[in-house]
């Protein structure tokens, strides 16, 4: 049990590091790709995706906003005015301070409290940046988990067919019709009983990743299975069998790569969905604890103060969440339109 705790507690830093590495690689590639790997860069720059991207103002805009938000959230320890996880930053005297430009704001303490403070007196902007990081880490982590699960299950179902397929897909159907939110709440309840509330709070991030991952794998499984079935009928698979390749190799080397573009397309939307689910869970109080708030739990805390006039605690995190999810969704729409894969009918 202790080792499990230990491993789980490393989830967040790992995903943090991975995200930072991926981001830096992305910028490195954008800035230096054409010098480092001219051939690959050439193929990339000539691709249909890049070509369409250049002519699509909405896609360019949303990628820009998304990159700014990503950089801001993963660089939050360096750019945020204060550290909301530091107990020293709690100052009940400052609780519900309005934004700096409003009456009762604290313009002389800038950059702290530029957007005001939350109910515990933490600087709202810093809390939001850290919260966005939590939301993103959970979103990305959950999508990684569900992608792994879903691809494995979808491949198995699509390839084996018959009874295994029927069983797995029925399960996916049942789970989907219950909706991910409900399933996540149920799994969350089970986890809480299994771990106890205290360690649940301590390991909220990895546990939420597991919950959302387990709740949302059917999307991937169905998409992957649908494209495996479509690919399996194609003659290149028969050709590979006539060559004599073993089944697993046909599956991994021939079929899997051809199912990846729909997987890629749903991945963007799934990150947005996972973050929505996380926000929903946190809003209901089943997600991130107040000590380590995500955007959803910030909105939840703010809800109580909305009626008393402290709107900023809710509205700012909410707006940030909407902008984040909207930019991801717009990018996802763009990918879907350009790559035009056969997605499983459904949403």
């Amino acid at each position: 049990m202790e080792t499990l705790f230990f491993i789980l507690s490393w989830t967040q830093p790992t995903i943090n590091a991975l995200a930072i590495a991926a981001l830096s690689l992305f910028f490195l590639w954008m800035l230096g790709g054409r010098f480092l790997m001219p051939a690959a860069w050439g193929r990339f720059a000539d691709s249909h995706l890049v070509y369409s991207f250049r002519r699509d103002a909405v896609a360019k805009g949303s990628l820009g906003i998304l990159l700014v938000l990503l950089v801001a959230s993963f660089a939050c320890p360096w750019i945020a005015p204060t550290n909301p996880y530091d107990p020293a930053s709690l100052d009940l005297m400052m609780a519900q301070t309005p934004p700096a430009w409003m009456e009762g704001g604290e313009p002389d303490q800038l950059p702290a409290f530029v957007l005001g403070a939350d109910d515990q007196g933490r600087d709202l902007l810093s809390t939001m940046l850290y919260g966005m990081r939590v939301s993103l880490v959970i979103g990305i982590g959950a999508v990684l988990l569900q992608a792994v699960l879903g691809i494995a299950i979808g491949l198995t179902a699509g390839y084996l067919g018959k009874r295994v397929e029927m069983l797995l897909m029925r399960l996916a159907d049942v789970q989907l019709s219950f909706s991910t939110l409900l399933v996540a709440i149920f799994i969350g309840a089970m986890f809480r009983t299994a771990f106890g509330v205290a360690s649940y709070e301590r390991l909220a991030v990895p546990i939420l990743i597991c919950i959302i991952g387990l709740a949302e794998w059917p999307q991937y499984a169905r998409t992957v299975r649908a494209s495996v079935l479509a690919e399996k009928k194609k003659e290149y698979v028969e050709a590979a069998r006539v060559v004599g390749l073993p089944a697993w190799r046909i599956m991994l080397r021939h079929i899997l790569p051809n199912t990846l573009s729909p997987v890629l397309v749903i991945s963007t939307v799934q990150v947005a969905n996972a973050m929505m689910t996380e926000a929903g869970l946190s809003f209901l109080g089943f997600g991130m604890p107040v000590t380590q708030p995500s955007l959803g739990s910030l909105i939840n805390t703010g809800f109580e103060y909305l009626l008393s006039g402290s709107w900023w605690i809710t509205i700012f995190p909410g707006a940030l969440l909407v902008v984040l999810i909207l930019s991801i969704n717009l990018l996802g729409d763009f990918c879907r339109d350009v790559m035009n894969p056969r997605l499983y009918k459904g949403m």
């Binding site: 049942v174 149920f186 909407v322």
Partner: protein
């Protein structure tokens, strides 16, 4: 057609079996029936004796069948908090949620079909772009945030609409069903919750209808209908729309079921005394029996909706109606 019906019903039974299995295992892993009966502060002997009496030491399979038998008879256990049969609690809360879901489903159906079809037929027009843009923003706003924005705008700032509760209710069927449809106050209370609930699903439906319609418009038979000199209205509403309807019905049925899940968020914000709010409280209180009962009831509801949807699908699709196969 009869064979098709029976097949659907048998499938529904299988799905219910799966759901009951999940419910049973949930109750076993999360819940503790002894605690539900006696609370935490009883001695170990009393517990052991209770376990024996409740049959908790029987083989798992026997316990499952007992659970199943009780469930079929309508006994889903007692709620820890309410100290009443769980089913009774659920039935008393159900009308509020069903009215909310019904209103939203109606709004979604009435709005999504014209919007989706219009934007499929005229993809380049300004109005289509607006519809699409609004629906993209719509899917990106969490339902609880929509609800909060509504409250802060219409209740706090403008003071037009009430922010919580169901308002004045009228008892129907001897008090078994309290409806908010019949009073002005009830309808005013319904506006914001149903709008919030609609906001999450409507964009998805518009996109679904639009995508399917656009696909159908590409088909040869639509071009052929043009070549026959038929009017645009007949081409769109008889030739294209009927074919669009088939996939929309299948996917739509599942999605309408999901609405029920989203009531958890909406009802929490608007303090709507329905199943969703009850569910949230049950999770907070660790009321396992109520949770399991909720899951079984909602599952049954999904299965019923899906079966009805399948039957409608079967009636629209001549392939099923005539041959009995999909």
């Amino acid at each position: 057609m009869i064979a098709f019906l029976i097949r659907r019903l048998l499938q529904a039974c299988i799905v219910m079996g799966v759901i009951s299995l999940i419910g049973f295992s949930l109750r076993h892993t999360v819940g503790d029936p002894v605690r539900e009966m006696y609370g935490m502060s009883v001695s170990a002997e009393v517990r052991a004796e209770a376990r024996e009496r409740l049959g908790l030491n029987d083989p798992i399979i026997v316990q499952y069948f007992r659970f199943l038998k009780n469930a079929v008879q309508g006994d889903l256990g007692n709620s820890l908090f309410y100290q009443k049969p769980a089913l009774e609690v659920i039935l008393s809360k159900a009308p509020a949620t069903l009215e909310l879901v019904f209103t939203s489903a109606l709004l979604i159906t009435l709005l999504s079909v014209p919007c989706g079809i219009y934007s499929a037929i005229h993809p380049r027009r300004l109005l289509s772009r607006i519809i699409l843009g609004v629906s993209t923003v719509g899917v990106s706003v969490p339902v609880f945030f929509t609800a909060l924005m509504c409250i802060s705008l219409f209740s706090i700032t403008l003071g037009w609409l009430p922010s919580f509760g169901r308002g004045e209710l009228t008892p129907l069927f001897g008090g078994a069903w309290e409806t908010g449809f019949l009073t002005w106050s009830g309808i005013k209370h319904l506006i914001m919750p149903s709008f919030a609930l609609t906001s999450i699903m409507l964009p998805l439906f518009i996109r679904l209808v639009r995508a399917e319609m656009m696909e159908v418009l590409q088909m040869d038979y639509v071009k052929y209908a043009r070549a026959k000199g038929l009017s645009e209205r007949r081409i769109y509403w008889v030739h294209a729309f009927r074919n669009t309807l088939l996939p929309v019905i299948t996917v739509g049925g599942v999605q309408l079921g999901i609405l029920i899940a989203f009531t958890i968020l909406t009802e929490t914000v608007f303090n709507w005394k329905g199943l969703g709010g009850m569910f949230k409280e049950a999770v907070d209180r660790g009321d396992t029996s109520l949770l399991v009962a909720y899951m079984v009831v909602v599952g049954a509801l999904f299965v019923v909706v899906n079966t009805v949807v399948d039957v409608i699908y079967g009636m629209v699709n001549p392939m099923v109606r005539v041959v009995g196969r999909k």
